[in-house]
């Protein structure tokens, strides 16, 4: 505020006296008094405005100045549209990339789970020696509930069932989850409408009740509130809909939840079975993971002691629910966050570089301003306003890019990214973008602005922008910035290169089957209609024959699992190599019809393939995968050996090994072979089987007929999960492909920005040296000399950047370890490739300015002095 202020009245009097004096003078000059007064007023201008300016000035000074700064800055930016557009677009790329990645991080990693106090919720499982995680046995769970001390409550769920819903127009495959009645209460989520299971519903033989999920409610019932009290016919049983469950996260893909204890008396709910049940616990406040695991170990020891046969070797453990959900995606997101940060820094450096290039022409303008009384801080503020305007406009555009990017990411449905629907641009993301924009504006603007205000008045006004110490230091600074930019671009390039190499290796991994031209689908026979193995066998084989008869189908086969899909795992005992009880290995078990091996081109390495006698009633046969054979019959021929399903004292009749087939990746392309046993479907039928189909004509033409054949067998039987084996295998590396794709985009952006940066610096260098080049050429230097002068400059600066980048990439490559398959984070080929690529790009970027240098006309440069 001003130190003193006169009253408004005093000021008015002064102005009035001014007008009076002016009027007097005009009258003296011979003007009519009336006209003279009007003229005096007119000459004074707007009286009230002058007063306003005086009195409101101080109060509005801040805002007014800001607006003036903004107006001035936009004028300056409009004056150089090229610079403005490039800067804004560069920053938009950087800020947009960061905003997009942050919205993913925000939705996936940062946003709390939609449960009450989610930090106390854990997932629980059991373990066997050699297998760290297996599903929970129901009786073990009952013991946990009673004996553990660290939990408020424990629940179980199982999201793996599919049932057939009948009664609606078409039979429908429904994902059914079993949940103990306390599951939703434990999570702390109330149903959207209706009510949760009550105690009377979660018991064996209870009237059947169902909670449908929000998605199923929307899809099947158009979110109709009248759904309460309606019934669902699932696998021939009727369930009453009691409510619509709140959306859950991390509980699998489920359409309908039903009470678990309806199955309590099922055969596989005994102590020795682990039928796809997963534990969920709510820890008491303050309990650590270590305390929980100690408590579970204590209870497991008791269970082992009390059930030496069925629970031999059993252990238990768990981890935080939220952590498990993001465990797989976290390394990729962390790496991508650093990558986009690098992109933003490169963008900042680029704009800083542009600003420095402008500062030569700005220097005179600024000197002029200083000369007429603007202070350093005033100039600094003006420049920062300009920079912030660039940054904020870039940020706005960036948010637009991010919006499109996030839409794209969600639309791509990247495999393995949890909570996709939770990824959007919300307030937190917008605040993030705004903060990033402002920090960016200060970051890229401060250094050039300081450089610009460090002007020596006289020097700058005199200097016509060449050869002075100030320009030399600018050139040096720009060289440093260019090196920084090159270094960061190289880091991204190396990262993307490593992922790409890793991905190509992963994609080239042999799955063990030939997926080409194989379509797959699922058939699930409802237990109510097909209650026993005999009926299931007849039905499945009838369906198979019908499918095989479809015109265009060359072969079809039944299989209980597909490569890279979930497998059933059972304890196996090998003849001659029994393991101690509780230590029996778990092996994947797959039931197939005779056509399967040849359909997916699996090779029989030893023994025989299927024969027509491998049917029900004949001696049970089994084929081992190579890995299983090598592991459990080392140095022996396993053909003819016998194995037992279960522990060595299992009462089941033994299988005879008929042959050895080649290995197939059971879970992940990047994973090791676990070992698989193949058994004959006819000897061990099941109600849920996969159908593999090979056709001589395109699937789009075959599948409708296949569907008709299945419906012809049983009109209530849907054909589900239609896909191809190639697609299944492709999707299994979807997350890797996605990470590589996204980092690839960022690396490309970084490379382009770096190229622009190199171009800018070299163009500036040439412009600065055009005088010198002119003289050299006048003195007889040849073009090649000039080219080598410029190229030398490019190579020196880029070379420094590349060297720094290589070291930095190696130093940060630890971030990549978890993301790479069969590629070392310090893979020399990738590093060398990245370095060469960058040097090449730098040289290409320097071509135009170099050519311009060789076309310098000595006469012109000499004259311009």
């Amino acid at each position: 505020m001003l130190g003193f202020r006169r009253s408004q009245r005093d000021f008015e009097v002064e102005i009035q006296s001014h007008i009076d004096i002016e009027t007097d003078r005009l009258i003296e000059e011979g003007m009519h008094p009336h006209d003279a007064r009007l003229a005096a007023r007119r000459r004074f201008g707007n009286v009230s405005k002058a007063q306003e300016r005086y009195h409101d000035g101080a109060r509005l000074a801040w805002l007014e100045q800001l607006m003036l700064d903004v107006r001035y800055a936009s004028r300056m930016l409009r004056k150089s549209p090229g610079f403005t557009a490039i800067s804004i677009f560069t920053l938009a790329l950087g800020i947009g990339a960061n905003t997009a990645v942050f919205s993913v991080v925000n939705g996936v990693l940062l946003a709390p789970l939609p449960y009450r106090e989610p930090e106390r919720i854990v997932k629980l499982w059991e373990s066997l020696p050699g297998t760290s995680q297996i599903m929970v046995s129901y009786p073990d769970y009952r013991d946990w509930k009673v004996r553990t001390r660290v939990f408020d409550d424990i629940a179980l769920y199982s999201p793996f069932r599919t049932m057939t819903r009948t009664g609606s127009e078409l039979p429908d495959r429904v994902g059914v989850g079993l949940a103990t009645g306390n599951l939703f209460g434990l999570l702390g989520v109330a149903p959207i409408i209706g009510r949760d299971f009550n105690a009377d519903e979660d018991r064996p033989g209870a009237p059947r009740a169902a909670l449908i999920t929000n998605g199923y409610w929307k899809r099947q019932f158009a979110s109709d509130r009248g759904v309460l009290g309606k019934t669902l016919a699932l696998d021939g049983e009727t369930y009453k809909i009691i409510g619509v469950a709140s959306p859950t996260v991390g509980l699998g893909v489920v359409d309908v939840w039903v009470p678990m204890r309806l199955w309590e008396n099922a055969a596989n709910f005994n102590r020795g079975n682990h039928p796809g049940l997963i534990g969920v616990g709510r820890l008491k406040p303050g309990v650590t993971l270590a305390q929980m695991n100690a408590d579970l170990s204590r209870v497991s020891a008791e269970i082992r002691a009390e059930n030496p046969t069925e629970a031999s070797g059993i252990g238990a453990g768990g981890d935080f629910f939220g952590e498990l959900l993001v465990h797989n995606i976290r390394p990729a997101l962390e790496m991508l966050s650093w990558a986009v940060f690098c992109v933003l820094l490169i963008a900042c450096v680029n704009v800083a570089n542009l600003l420095l290039g402008r500062s030569t022409s700005r220097r005179k303008e600024i000197a002029l301003r200083v000369a007429v009384g603007a202070s350093d801080s005033r100039i600094l503020r003006l420049l920062l306003t300009e920079n912030l305007m660039i940054a904020l406009t870039g940020g706005l555009l960036g948010v637009g890019l991010a919006y499109a990017g996030v839409k794209g990411i969600v639309a791509l449905k990247p495999v393995g990214v949890p909570r996709l629907s939770n990824i959007h641009i919300d307030l937190r993301v917008l605040v993030f973008a705004a903060v990033v924009s402002i920090v960016t504006g200060l970051l890229f603007g401060l250094m050039p602005a300081r450089q610009a205000t460090k002007v020596d008045l006289n020097d700058s006004l005199k200097e016509s922008g060449r050869g002075s110490s100030a320009t030399a230091s600018t050139l040096r600074l720009r060289g440093v910035l260019m090196a920084v930019e090159v270094a960061m671009a190289l880091m991204l390039l190396v990262g993307a290169g490593l992922l790409m190499r890793s991905f190509t290796r992963l994609a080239r991994v042999e799955s063990g089957v030939d997926p080409r031209g194989v379509a797959t689908a699922q058939i699930n026979l409802p237990n109510a209609k097909y209650p026993d193995e005999a009926r299931q066998r007849v039905a499945m084989e009838d369906i198979l024959r019908r499918v095989q008869s479809v015109p265009g189908v060359t072969t079809a086969a039944l299989t209980s699992a597909f490569p890279l899909g979930a497998n059933q795992q059972n304890k196996i005992t090998f003849e001659g190599h029994p393991r101690p009880k509780g230590n029996e290995p778990l092996l994947n078990v797959q039931y197939v019809s005779p056509e399967y091996f040849s359909l997916v081109k699996m090779r029989v390495i030893r023994g025989r393939g299927f024969s027509s006698s491998d049917v029900q009633g004949a001696a049970p046969v089994v084929w081992l995968s190579e890995t299983a054979a090598r592991k459990y019959f080392p140095g022996e021929n396993p053909v003819g050996k016998r194995i037992l399903h279960g522990p060595f004292d299992s009462k089941e009749s033994p299988f005879t090994v008929a042959g050895v087939v080649n290995d197939v990746k059971e879970t992940r392309l990047g994973g090791a072979f676990g070992g698989t046993l193949y058994m004959a479907f006819d000897q061990f039928p099941d109600n849920s089987m996969g159908l593999a189909i090979k056709a001589s004509i395109p699937f789009e033409q075959v599948m409708p007929a296949v569907r008709r054949e299945v419906a012809g067998f049983d009109k209530d039987l849907p054909l589900a999960d239609e896909t191809t084996l190639e697609q299944t295998i492709g999707e299994s590396i979807g997350q890797e492909r996605f990470t590589m794709f996204v980092l690839g985009i960022f690396a490309t952006v970084a490379l382009l920005l770096a190229a622009v940066g190199v171009y800018g610096v070299i163009a500036y260098f040439v412009a600065q040296r055009s005088h010198e080049i002119g003289i050299r050429m006048a003195l007889g230097a040849r073009r090649t000399n000039i080219v080598s002068l410029v190229t030398g400059r490019v190579l020196v600066t880029t070379g420094v950047g590349v060297a720094v980048g290589l070291v930095a990439a190696a130093a940060t490559s630890g971030l990549m370890t978890k993301l790479l398959y069969d590629v070392k984070p310090t893979d020399t080929t990738t590093y060398a490739g990245g370095a060469i690529a960058l040097l090449l790009v730098a040289c290409v970027a320097a071509v135009v300015p170099t050519l311009r240098a060789t076309r310098v006309n000595p006469a012109t440069t000499m004259r311009s002095d």
């Binding site: 130190g3 001014h18 007097d24 005086y54 003006l382 006289n458 311009s864």
Partner: protein, 120 residues
């Protein structure tokens, strides 16, 4: 001293420095009221500089606030009550500084303009 100058806006940045200098120069000769200052500047510049009164009074306030000039109510030649401004000691010193600065600026601008003319 004011910590913030409400009129130091970009709008008159060029004018501001010069107008201040012109006012100081006018008052260095004799005290004047506002209308007198405007008239003197106008006359001395050969009617090329028409002073915007909307800028003049804020400039006077500013200079007064800085303590370079001081104002006092008096009577004009026509017996009108008017506020007369005169230079303070600080103002007089400032006038010398500002004049030097101005001369440097003019010289500098001339130098800037000269080579560019030659270039064209």
């Amino acid at each position: 001293m004011p910590t913030q100058d409400p009129y130091a806006s970009e709008r008159d940045s060029l004018l501001q420095g010069t107008l201040d200098l012109l006012i100081l120069r006018t008052l260095a000769l004799a005290p004047h009221h506002g209308q007198g200052i405007a008239r003197v500047i106008q006359q001395r510049s050969g009617d090329t500089l028409l002073i915007d009164h909307g800028s003049l009074y804020p400039a006077l306030q500013r200079l007064e606030a800085r303590g370079w000039i001081k104002g006092a109510w008096g009577t004009s030649e026509n017996n009108r009550r008017a506020r007369f401004y005169s230079l303070t000691a600080v103002g007089r010193k400032q006038f010398v500084t500002e004049t030097g600065r101005w001369n440097r600026l003019v010289e500098s601008i001339a130098r800037v303009l000269a080579p560019e003319l030659a270039e064209g």
